[in-house]
């Protein structure tokens, strides 16, 4: 039980879920970052004579049906997926967390009721359906995909921060802050937010992975990032007609999605175990 609440790195390294998740996440985030400066080949240049090549020292993962280097496509695709999902999570947090804190500060009041009913309304829409409607209305593309996925993150973070904040509002240290004359806004930001940060980070990791799946789904049906920007979902859609001829074109982007999502989910699980004091009892 020693050091249960310490944040010594060794505790993190001994959690297999956290470790594997962190490694997988680092690989794909690394690929995405490197793609900003350098890719093995230029994916904008098509070279049909070099199409469907097997893996070689020049093309580590081979080439696609237009002769583009698959590794380069995967790297740029990682950038697209991660950017869309990360910004969508950011949108959800920036709007959802203050809403949830506000609802908790006015618990039982009409603002609380209004915010909760707004959450119910968004949850009533099947997520993918609303995302498809939004991208259909405002046109396909990465920005609209972010908006469509981001809207869904708002009620998730609003509910979570409201629930977390509600349990804190009854605690003595909050009472002390109120007696000291601090207002609801100041208490929410100075005392409540830091205490629910762990919850929010874990949820953000999970929403990040859901965002990657959603982006892949949207770009698979042609509503996500548009060419020449590479995206994993569209690589899968393109590979579908050639699946008998060149199954690797379907396997590689699919594996990239699975490993990224798996990495984020493991990272989230590991972080939850490491930061939630209640999990201590379970681990012992």
């Amino acid at each position: 039980m020693s050091g249960a609440y310490s944040h010594r790195p060794r505790r993190y390294l001994r959690n297999p879920s956290f470790l594997l998740g962190a490694i997988l996440t680092a690989i794909f985030v690394g690929l995405a970052l490197v793609s900003l400066f350098w890719t093995p080949a230029d994916i904008a240049r098509l070279n049909v004579s070099a199409r469907l090549l097997p893996p070689s020292p020049q093309n580590w993962l081979g080439t696609d049906h237009y002769g583009r280097d698959l590794l380069s496509m995967i790297m740029v695709g990682a950038r697209t997926s991660i950017a869309v999902a990360l910004i969508a999570v950011g949108v959800g947090m920036v709007i959802g967390v203050p809403l949830g804190l506000w609802a908790a500060a006015r618990r039982g009041g009409w603002i609380d009721e209004l915010i909760m009913r707004f959450n119910d309304l968004v949850f009533a829409f099947p997520a993918l359906l609303l995302a498809i409607m939004i991208t259909a209305v405002f046109g396909p593309g990465a920005v609209n995909a972010i908006v469509a996925i981001g809207i869904f993150n708002i009620p998730v973070f609003a509910r979570l921060s409201r629930a977390g904040a509600l349990s804190l509002w009854t605690r003595d240290f909050i009472m002390a802050a109120r007696v000291a004359g601090k207002g609801a806004v100041r208490i929410s930001y100075e005392h409540i937010l830091p205490n629910i940060a762990n919850l929010l980070i874990v949820q953000a990791t999970i929403q990040f992975s859901l965002g990657i799946l959603a982006e892949a789904g949207l770009s698979y049906v042609g509503l996500g990032a548009q060419p020449p920007l590479a995206s994993w979902g569209r690589m899968l859609a393109d590979s579908q007609t050639m699946i008998a001829l060149a199954p690797q074109l379907a396997l590689i982007p699919g594996l990239a999605i699975v490993l990224t999502v798996l990495g984020l989910n493991l990272l989230g699980d590991g972080l939850r175990d490491l930061t939630d004091p209640r999990m201590e009892a379970v681990r012992r």
Partner: protein, 316 residues
């Protein structure tokens, strides 16, 4: 109980009204005029105006909204712009595919998840548990449309056991129709089964810590017997919520899978409606799906309130 019921019904009604306004407003800002889309870019302006009048597109927004909602209440969804048949007929045709597909996928998900969760909970923190949990982590991470492609590659392209897509219709007989739905249902069920197995496993582990389980064990039941006879029933309560949510998800979430397998279901109807600017079809199907989700949530809430009186008084 009656007060609780009335309150929940009011929330249900308000959600539906708000959802219908959101859907209608979204659809009314869609760029592209359905009449123009139907007649082509070189259409005669007079004919275009006539068609717009016929479709009712020339009337004010509020009138169109009220007409649409008024129709919905009595089951009249209006006329499809492109198919020139009633939207309710279109939906009825498509629901004959989507509903059985959702049920089949849900059934598969439950049939896979329950034994997997029982197996894992019995071997808590041992190799069996860790393997099942590892597999379910992968199951959650796999996009269902990619899994569908892999199923097609294996069972249709390589083994030639199933066709790669399409639906012969229920008129072609039960077996051919079910065969066409098998791969899509498996693809839909995998992530759902993984989520369900994880929820059920942790619910089982929670109940295993209860006193009545210790009593049952003290009476001489093995861990497995106590799990199946006593813990399982109590663990099912949280699982029912997930199953309820999954059903509505499966009904609406099939939209991409239906595209992979070229299945004429509700999801594909929405998709075609969007590309053909057949907005009345899109908004009708979407409101129907939202209604399904809201209704399932409502029914689950009510069922809980019957079981657990504490929920009726709480600030739910």
């Amino acid at each position: 109980m009656l007060r609780y019921l009335a309150r929940r019904l009011l929330v249900l009604a308000l959600t539906m009204v708000a959802a219908s306004i959101v859907i209608f407003l979204l659809m009314s800002v869609v760029p592209g005029d359905p009449a123009q889309f139907m007649m082509g870019m070189n259409a005669d302006p007079a004919a275009l105006a006539a068609l717009r009048a016929e479709l009712g597109l020339d009337r004010p927004l509020l009138v169109r909204y009220l007409e649409w909602v008024g129709g919905l209440v009595i089951g009249d969804f209006g006329q499809s712009y492109t198919y020139r048949v009633s939207v309710s007929q279109l939906i009825l045709d498509r629901i004959g595919l989507s509903l059985p597909l959702a049920f089949l996928a849900l059934l598969l998900s439950v049939v896979i998840a329950i034994p997997a969760a029982l197996f894992a909970a019995q071997r808590h923190n041992k190799a069996g548990d860790i393997s099942v949990m590892g597999l379910s982590q992968i199951g959650i991470a796999v996009p269902n449309f990619w899994f569908a492609m892999l199923l097609v590659l294996l069972f249709s392209v390589t083994l030639r056991w199933f066709s790669a897509g399409g639906f012969p219709g229920w008129d072609a007989g039960f077996v051919p129709a079910m065969k066409a739905l098998t791969l899509p249902a498996i693809a839909l069920a995998l992530p759902q089964a993984s989520i369900l197995a994880r929820v059920l496993r942790s619910a089982l582990l929670d109940t295993l810590g209860e006193d009545y389980i210790r009593t049952a064990r003290a009476k001489g039941l093995s861990r497995g017997q106590a799990l199946r006879r006593h813990a399982f029933r109590n663990a099912l309560i949280p699982v029912l919520t997930i199953i309820g949510l999954q059903f509505s998800f499966l009904l609406a979430g099939a939209i991409i899978i239906e595209n992979v397998f070229f299945l004429p279901g509700l999801g594909r109807l929405v998709f075609q409606g969007i590309t053909q600017r057949d907005l009345i079809v899109v908004q009708s199907v979407v409101i129907l799906l939202v209604f399904a989700v809201t209704l399932v949530t409502f029914l689950v809430d009510i069922a809980y309130a019957f079981i657990d009186p504490r929920l009726r008084r709480g600030t739910v």
